[in-house]
């Protein structure tokens, strides 16, 4: 069974919501990322999203742009990230998802990526610029190898489209909580409750997790109360930036994750 599915099964049994933490892999360095993943797990994170840095992250706001840029400058590549995943797998069973724009994966080679990702112990991949219409073979082959391709539903997705996305969704549905790029917002958009309840209905047994713009423990609690889990990225990256070069990076950011998990 895919680790994501077992995780949600366990969460449901314990009447808990999923807390999904995003990290830009290689920010501030890959060793730090690995340490942070283990620290996050200790502090209650349920699933980790590892962002693969890309030169042109069109769905990301300034914070993740900056962290991607820094990671790229340090020579982080998809290959090295998969190596990190392998190392992490020896020490942890936490579900690991790679979040990557399509081009680095395409360049790596689609069959080779699927093979190496599964071998490393990756559970799923999230590709923000790959809608279900494109590269259908890739999603099919990934799935049969045991690698999920997580699908998005956005506030602008029509009902009929959402239904068809939900039908082929695996792991969970990533609901984009606002129209915009990643990054902290002071408040969550009106209508989120209504949208989430409609997506929940459409999703049926597939869990729905919401991300984009969620930055505080209160927001995380609010959002996950309406669905099955919440994804936080930019706020964590911001916290990392604050502690770079200071002692206690992992423990301080870990403490933040603990508050986000609530």
């Amino acid at each position: 069974m895919n680790r994501i599915d077992s995780k949600f099964r366990e969460l449901r049994k314990n009447r808990q919501k999923a807390f999904i933490a995003f990290l830009t892999a290689g920010y501030p360095g890959l060793a730090a990322t690995e340490k942070l993943v283990l620290e996050f797990e200790k502090n209650g994170a349920d699933i980790i999203e590892l962002g693969v840095p890309f030169s042109d992250p069109i769905a990301d706001g300034p914070v993740i742009q900056m962290s991607s840029y820094t990671a790229l400058k340090k020579g982080v590549t998809l290959k090295k990230i998969l190596d990190s995943v392998s190392r992490l797998r020896r020490r942890s069973a936490i579900p690991l998802i790679a979040m990557s724009y399509f081009n680095p994966i395409l360049r790596y080679g689609l069959p080779r990526f699927i093979k190496d990702a599964v071998k490393a112990g990756l559970d799923a991949v999230i590709i923000p610029d790959l809608p279900p219409e494109e590269e259908k073979d890739f999603a099919k082959e990934a799935l049969s190898a045991g690698l999920y391709v997580i699908r998005f539903i956005a506030p602008t997705t029509t009902l009929s489209r959402a239904r068809s996305i939900a039908r082929s969704a695996r792991g969970f549905i990533y609901f984009v909580s606002l129209t915009g790029v990643t990054g902290a917002r002071s408040s969550m958009p009106d209508g989120l409750r209504l949208q989430l309840s409609s997506v929940k209905k459409i999703a049926g047994p597939i869990p729905v997790c919401a991300g984009f713009g969620v930055s505080t423990p209160a927001q995380a609690r609010f959002v996950s109360s309406m669905c099955d889990g919440v994804i936080v990225g930019s706020a964590i990256i911001k916290m990392i930036s604050k502690y770079i070069g200071r002692p206690g990076l992992a423990s301080s950011v870990g403490a933040f994750v603990k508050r986000l998990k609530g």
């Binding site: 890309f54 030169s55 042109d56 992250p57 069109i58 769905a59 706001g61 742009q65 840029y69 790229l72 590549t77 998809l78 290959k79 724009y101 399509f102 081009n103 680095p104 994966i105 395409l106 360049r107 790596y108 923000p128 610029d129 790959l130 809608p131 219409e133 494109e134 699908r151 998005f152 539903i153 956005a154 506030p155 602008t156 997705t157 029509t158 489209r161 996305i165 984009v176 129209t179 915009g180 790029v181």
Partner: protein
């Protein structure tokens, strides 16, 4: 075979590689455009503005002096430089602005490199009462100061882009981010035959007026089709606009001229077709300048309008299928041709268009005697005079 297919693919290229948030807006644009292209009123309205406002049809000028110097060929210049705002970009922005009105949207975003598309978008927005935000790399803002001022005069807001290479690539990323954020109220007017479907198709169709006119003009004068069509290729809109109406005329050879920058043997060029590999950037699959890890490289060209590491998917398709051939000329050759055309014909070309002239000049021997060649003079050089003056 229909190009593109219903999902926007040109062979393996094209498609819609965008965040889910934008899929609805792309569908809406597809539907609105499919209706508009069949709608007599829309066609009449666009034709009216192209003629009375933009100044179409543009002349197909027989460049006697240029032909004489090259010796054995007949060169015709398709004078897009004479259009309102000084380049072919207005053909497309008028069309897309009219589509924006039909969508009921009041706000427009656009990206610009040389500033020509930015000016053309700002112009169409002023004409039709739309709010206009143009994203432009700070490096381009410096080298195209005149166009920045023009956009501001036209009432547009020019948003400086400081990320990445600070040129067209990053301007486009930033415009997409704005669009994702404001998609309900905002239409994105893309300036080239790039981006997600339906943009490569609709920009091509709006620019095809260049080739349609050129085709009937050359038939009227020469009583035959041309042997070659030559145009510069950055994203590839003026070249596609010229080529496309001749697509089925298999004897007409298409030549796209890319920017070799400091030279193809250096790492400073923008020749995506010649030096790129298959990749996905800004919403479509095409050729891309990238490293081994799939990170997009920074392009270089002295011509801001060619300074882009991607290229329209239909060009990549033309290249693979052999329908078009692609060559590249350096910054230096382009600057020489900028001066060359100025003194031989009294026409100061845009640095982008000067690439096409430079190709003619350096490859004239390959054309057979009596060959008829149409060159797209996509824009005028006023915008480049300032920066070339300081180069001297």
């Amino acid at each position: 075979m229909k190009l593109p297919d219903s999902l926007g693919h040109f062979g393996i290229y094209g498609g819609k590689y965008v965040p889910e948030t934008l899929m609805g807006a792309l569908k809406e644009l597809e539907v609105i455009y499919a209706k508009a292209r069949r709608d007599k009123n829309f066609k009449q309205e666009l034709a009216y503005y192209l003629k009375e406002y933009a100044g179409r049809p543009t002349p197909l000028y027989f460049a006697k002096n240029l032909s004489h110097i090259l010796g054995h060929v007949k060169i015709y210049l398709k004078r897009e430089d004479l259009l309102h705002t000084g380049a072919h970009k207005i053909n497309n922005t008028l069309g897309q602005a009219l589509l924006t009105l039909r969508m009921g949207k009041k706000r427009v975003v656009a990206e610009t490199g040389a500033g020509q598309h930015g000016v053309a978008t700002a112009t169409a927005c002023a004409l039709f009462g739309l709010d206009c935000f143009v994203y432009m790399g700070v490096k381009d803002i410096e080298r195209q100061a005149l166009n920045v001022y023009r956009m501001k005069l036209l009432g547009a807001i020019v948003v400086p882009v400081k990320s990445g290479s600070q040129t067209l690539k990053d301007a486009m990323s930033e415009a997409i981010r704005d669009w994702v954020t404001n998609v309900r109220t905002t239409n994105y007017i893309i300036g080239s035959v790039a981006g997600p479907h339906p943009y490569p198709m609709l920009v091509r169709d709006f620019q095809a007026v260049i080739g349609k006119e050129a085709r009937s003009q050359i038939l009227a004068v020469e009583r035959r089709l041309p042997d070659y069509l030559v145009a510069c290729v950055g994203g590839g809109s003026n070249s596609m606009g010229l080529f496309y109406p001749f697509y089925k005329d298999k004897k007409v050879k298409f030549i796209g001229v890319e920017a070799a920058g400091f030279g193809l043997n250096t790492s400073y060029y923008a020749a995506t077709i010649l030096r790129g590999s298959v990749g996905v950037l800004h919403g479509s699959k095409s050729k891309l300048l990238q490293d081994d890890d799939g990170q997009v490289k920074i392009a270089h060209s002295i011509a801001a309008g060619l300074d882009y590491p991607g290229v329209g998917p239909e060009h990549a398709y033309y290249k693979d299928t052999g329908r078009a051939e692609y060559f590249a000329v350096t910054d230096k050759e382009a600057v020489e041709s900028f001066r060359f055309l100025s003194v031989t014909e009294g026409i100061i070309p845009a640095l982008e268009s000067a690439h096409a002239i430079a190709y003619l000049k350096k490859s004239s021997r390959k054309f057979k005697k009596g060959a008829v060649i149409i060159v797209c003079l996509s824009g005028r050089g006023d915008k480049d005079v300032q920066s070339l003056k300081s180069l001297k």
